[in-house]
Amino acid sequence: MIPSLFVSLKVLAADIPLLLFLGTSIGWILAKKNFRGKNLVYNLIILPIALPPSVVGLYLLMALGRIPYLKEANILFSFTAAVIAPLFPALPIMIQAAKSGFSAVDEKLEAAARTLGDSEFKVFRRVTFPLAKPYIIGGLALSSMRALGEFGVTLMIAGNIPGRTQTLPLFIYSSVESMSFFEANIAAILLTALGIASLLIVKRMGGKA
């Protein structure tokens, strides 16, 4: 179980910065910018939430195994695949939360900051981001937990290789399959505790989950 815990924590350590950076940037663009095809882009981004993980996993398996450049990168069944897989169900949650947070910031506050001499970046740093922060904290906690619990897409593109791509949810699956219920229960309790802890952190930091 310990190797699986380490894999899960390594995946989480790689995914949290990606969720924060990609989720915040895409959420900001969707909340504040108008462009042709915005609705289509938004629907494509949240589509993985609406699809069964096995379907998302199959599409990724085909893309990573057949598209020449991606195939040469040898991502399939590697640790990189275990990092990429949870992003598909988790990133839409983060984007949605960031978008809601940025949309909730009154444009007049941003306009006031501009008239007081702020560049666009400074308006974001001093007004938009601090005011959207509770939503971003909430989104980050929920999406991280979704990433930690990811099962289907990881199994499809990263496999279930102990010590390399086997995360805690996959460990539970393998343990139950081999009738090792005690170990499965320990791993389940660990994931439950992490889920509760993340919700408490969100609440303590004033996040909106």
């Binding site: 009154d106 007049k108 506050l109 306009a111 006031a112 900051a113 501009r114 008239t115 007081l116 001499g117 702020d118 560049s119 001093r126 007004v127 601090p130 005011l131």
Partner: protein, 364 residues
């Protein structure tokens, strides 16, 4: 005095077009007009938040916008302070941090404190905006906008959400503040009291254009009053003829007549009269009527009653004319003033402004 602001611009909006031309000296200019006239959009364009389609804006000899040479200075570099109707205080920052927001350098905190002290807000430095009263918030918003020493201050109906006495007190403070800092101010409002108490210059706006630009003192000149106020839907205008009968001057129209003040300038013939809404006096049916009002007593029916900012506005239909009357909410308390009810009213001859044809552009 030299013009501080010279702006001419055009902007096509969803429902109408803005076609604005205005000049402002070192003075308080009030941009007055009904809701939807384009006042707030005008401020946004001046502040650089919205880009016009074409035109030119010059402030203190700095070119801020020129469509012909593709110059557009963004809001951050314009040195224009803006106070929104909603004030837009940063809710995550303290009062002091709000005022220091636009300041730079090692003295920024000292300067922000001195602004707050000047606004009688010493002791409020560490409060959050939601812990302040309406009047305190207004003063913080003014201090924040003025602290970076802007070349122009734009105020978008900043006192509209406040009660009457507080609004009047803040107007007085704003006037004093202007005397101290001498920053030209452009103040947007649809409240006539703001015009009367603040303006050095009045820009009257309707349907996206400035239809009058005049010194505040000229606002009460009878001719400008009739044309401007009536075109804004304020006051009663009647077309008819002047007759001289029994030694008196009478203004008559198809369904009624009014006695006018004797004047050697009045001659018989076609004319238009204008009656400001506050000059229409309501009459108690069972009480004696002032001798000046007696000959001009009219009968009518109240068609609409509105209460606005402590005053009551009545639209009365009588003698073939829709009369517009306005009075303080505390007056005429014993009269039954409900829509559909009959009413007696009158106008003193000295309160009637006579315009000969050609002086007036529109009439009922």
């Amino acid at each position: 005095m030299k013009d501080c602001l010279e702006a001419t611009f055009f902007k096509r909006l969803d429902n109408f077009s803005l076609d604005v031309s205005l000049r402002l000296k070192e003075e308080i200019g009030v941009l007055f007009g009904p809701s939807g006239a384009g006042k707030s959009q005008t401020l946004k364009i001046l502040a650089g938040i919205v880009k016009p389609d074409k035109g030119r804006i010059n402030l203190m000899d700095r070119l801020l916008y020129d469509s012909s040479s593709s110059v557009f200075i963004r809001a951050a570099k314009r040195k224009i302070g803006l106070v929104f109707q909603e004030l837009a205080l940063f809710p995550h920052l303290t009062v002091l941090e709000n005022v220091a927001y636009g300041l730079k350098g090692p003295n920024r905190w000292r300067l922000a404190k001195s602004w707050l002290d000047a606004m009688r807000l010493e002791g409020f430095y560490d409060r959050m905006p939601d812990q302040l009263s309406g009047g305190q918030k207004q003063r913080v918003a003014l201090a924040r906008a003025l602290a970076p020493k802007p070349d122009l201050l734009l105020l978008d109906e900043p006192f509209s959400a406040l009660e009457g006495p507080l609004r009047r007190a803040l107007r007085r403070e704003l006037k004093k503040l202007f005397e101290r800092v001498k920053t030209p101010i452009l103040y947007v409002t649809h409240d006539i009291e703001d015009v009367c108490s603040l303006a050095n210059r009045v820009f009257i706006m309707r349907d996206g254009s400035i239809m009058a630009d005049l010194e505040a003192s000229k606002l009460w000149d009878p001719l400008s009053q009739a044309n401007i106020w009536h075109s804004l839907g304020w006051g009663t205008l009647i077309r008819g003829e002047i007759e001289i009968n029994d030694g008196y001057h009478w203004f008559t129209w198809q369904k009624g007549r009014l006695r006018l003040s004797p004047s050697k300038d009045l001659t018989a013939g076609r004319a238009t009269v204008f009656i400001p809404p506050d000059q229409i006096k309501l009459i108690y049916p069972n009480l004696p009527v002032d001798h000046e009002l007696q000959p001009n007593t009219q009968e009518g029916t109240i068609v609409e009653k509105m209460e606005i900012n402590g005053s009551v506005r009545l639209y009365i239909f009588g003698a073939g004319v829709e009369w517009h009357a306005e009075y303080s909410k505390d007056s005429y308390l014993n009269l039954n003033l409900r829509e559909g009810h009959p009413i007696l009213f009158s106008i003193k001859p000295s309160s009637i402004t006579v315009l000969t044809d050609g002086e007036c552009c529109s009439a009922n």
